[in-house]
Symmetry: C2
């Protein structure tokens, strides 16, 4: 049983009072505000602040919430996040608060959701052993599936922050250079191997100084919350460009994130033991750490094609954060790092079409009778996820959705 609230919730909602994620929304003509969600209602924290209902949590709450981005609030740090979350919980559970708060409930269908935070730097890891092994087997069938460094450090790279977009943003098929093994020369045109990557993303609130470094144990002091990510990938562009400096245009055209940032506090009951790591990592990657039991679901045109389990990721989010900063790199509020494609050991747990169709050689049979290797124009991909909360609650993220639009740049351009 979830915690009693006076708000009327749908059965088995992903947004019980144990969740209370943060987003940014407009309602009619009103300017964008920070909002939370409970059941199928959205509540403006800007409106709560203006009504005095957040007094005593942080100084001047309206300055942080009656605006269209989470960044200033995220920068306040973990004690401020805890204070506001405690108050929101009280507002939705104390029957005496109902009279003041209920008029501020707005149906979800009446608001427009935006990218909830301004992205500073975006880093993408590659931390699912099953995913890395699958790609190794596909591309190097006769070699070792994993690179020699893979079990010693969380491999990652920087992605393009400026093309991180909110769920629902149309995904224009990218054009670029590609060269199939049978091609004499590279050619230009729309990608013919457009793919997804189902990932989980972590949003930095508290910054850290240049020359410093965040230890594994300091994870919860810096990470504000969690989103779902679709790191769209053009496999043909990527394959031709990525040696030796890594992915670039094959990834930089769009990265979609879910509209709700789930506070780390809402995922306390979803913590699971990290996977067994052999070899033992170097000391800077050791310390108390955990995974999160987030079960993802990938839907293509409404039909489930995969259920990747985030719980099994080899490297934990805290290890990723410690690695990312061990060289003295600073953190800024709004930095955002994603797990890498989440794939489980079973075929139906793979988080990308290149794995689901084994590089296009095993097309997926879809429910409508058609088959699919890579994405075609008009396809809609929705990635959801749910984690166990306290009191038997389900903690959801909302879906990260994108529909493929046809390419703008044609070969002759």
């Amino acid at each position: 049983m979830t915690q009693p609230t006076w708000v009327r919730l749908p059965p088995r909602t992903d947004f019980p009072v144990e969740n209370l994620p943060y987003g940014v929304a407009t309602h009619g003509e009103r300017p964008a505000h920070v909002v939370t969600r409970i059941g199928d209602y959205v509540v403006s924290l800007g409106a709560l602040a203006k009504g005095g209902l957040l007094d005593g949590t942080i100084e001047e709450p309206a300055a942080y919430f009656a605006i269209g981005t989470l960044n200033p609030f995220m920068a306040l740090g973990a004690p401020a996040w805890a204070a506001v979350r405690a108050r929101l919980t009280e507002l939705f559970t104390d029957p005496e608060r109902r009279k003041a708060v209920e008029p501020l409930l707005v149906p979800l269908t009446d608001v427009v959701l935006y990218l909830p935070f301004q992205v500073a730097d975006y880093v993408d890891f590659y931390s699912s052993e099953d995913h890395a092994t699958n790609l190794g087997r596909i591309f190097r069938p006769d070699g070792e599936a994993l690179m020699p460094n893979w079990k010693h450090l969380p491999i990652g790279y920087h992605g393009r922050a400026g093309t991180v977009v909110p769920s629902g943003t149309p995904i224009v098929r990218p054009s670029g250079q590609r060269k199939a093994p049978t091609d004499e020369e590279p050619r230009f045109g729309p990608s013919v191997r457009l793919d997804i990557e189902a990932e989980v993303g972590f949003v930095i609130g508290t910054p850290s100084p240049l020359g410093g470094g965040v230890r594994v144990e300091e994870f919860q002091d810096h990470v504000f919350g969690v989103v779902l990510v679709n790191d769209w990938s053009a496999r043909d562009i990527q394959a031709w460009e990525y040696v030796p400096l890594g992915p670039f245009l094959g990834k930089s055209f769009a990265t979609s994130v879910s509209p709700w940032v789930v506070p780390l506090a809402a995922l306390q009951d979803a913590r699971v033991a990290p996977p067994y790591q052999d070899p033992v990592p170097l000391p800077y990657l050791q310390g108390e750490t955990w995974g999160y039991n987030i079960l993802m679901e990938v839907k293509l045109n409404g039909h489930t094609v995969s259920t990747p389990p985030f719980a099994g990721l080899y490297w934990t989010p805290a290890q990723q954060l410690a690695h990312m900063t061990v060289n003295g790199a600073s953190l800024r509020t709004g930095d955002f790092y994603a797990s890498g494609t989440v794939s489980g050991p079973l075929p139906e747990q793979r988080g990308s079409f290149i794995e689901l169709t084994w590089n296009g050689t095993e097309p997926l049979a879809l429910a409508d009778g058609s088959t699919r290797t890579f994405l075609v124009d008009g396809d809609t991909v929705a990635i959801g996820g749910v984690a166990p909360g306290p009191n038997g609650a389900r903690i959801g993220f909302g879906e990260v959705v994108g529909t493929i639009h046809s390419a703008v740049r044609q070969p002759e351009l």
Copy 2:
């Protein structure tokens, strides 16, 4: 002869009235303003605006210049840049302006310079054929020096925008994992192969929309100006981590930029024919394009160790920009892309120590009698550059300087 100005200039100054770069500075207790430089004087555009001296150029000039970042001005676009530049030229050349402007001249030594723009995304290319060939020969002595894709597209990757720092910022030696060929296992500790990369950087003013793309011919509509870059690199960290997703912690600890953004307009006379490109690039990389004749100088502890010529870069800045956006990636004001290490064909034109010392096997003999392979604590590297301007003027950038500080993270941490 350079254009007559009433300002007293040092002979052969790098900052004649034909330059007029933009920076951000504080003077005593006054808040940071946008400034320009002429000779060895700095002038606040905020002060000029408040004195009415920029009236008629852009709307509300003080809102753009009495602030500590160039971004809002950069976002106004090329006509605004031209209008302000024309007025500044007039202010420093028209004797009748002297009485109003002269009291605003501040000696360079009296100001503190800051990072002149907020970096949105940072992309680093790899476009010097001599550099890429040298690295190929060092790392793959028996293979082809250049990768098969190198002459078909400007190879690049995203770097960390949050650790782009202004000239003068101390460079703390990064720690990280490394594994020499003779090591059984990777180990953790301060980098022992700390290096520089002498590069030229281009700063985006005018944004472009997601799903669009900037053509080669549109380069001057989007690029506001040019800086010098030192892309500090820990070769040992980089070598262990970079397969298959490219450089990450080996680069992300710091990237230094020169304090002055030289307007593209100041470099019109430095344009040179692009290098001969064989094979002919794909159509999206064709169009009227040019290189820039910027002669760089790398000094170690005050002594010149290299003079890399930017003019010979294989891919032009306009081709890099067209490539970076051909997949529909948007541009934001403050996006910043660097050329990649600039190396010329001669040994004394190499833009990194890994090349100058041929992977550490041929130590450099320094003027003080010592030798150097990679950087040691206390070393100071200064990278300068100069380009031909109109009327025989020299267009300089100011140096990008950094001193190596000892590592904070030791092996036991």
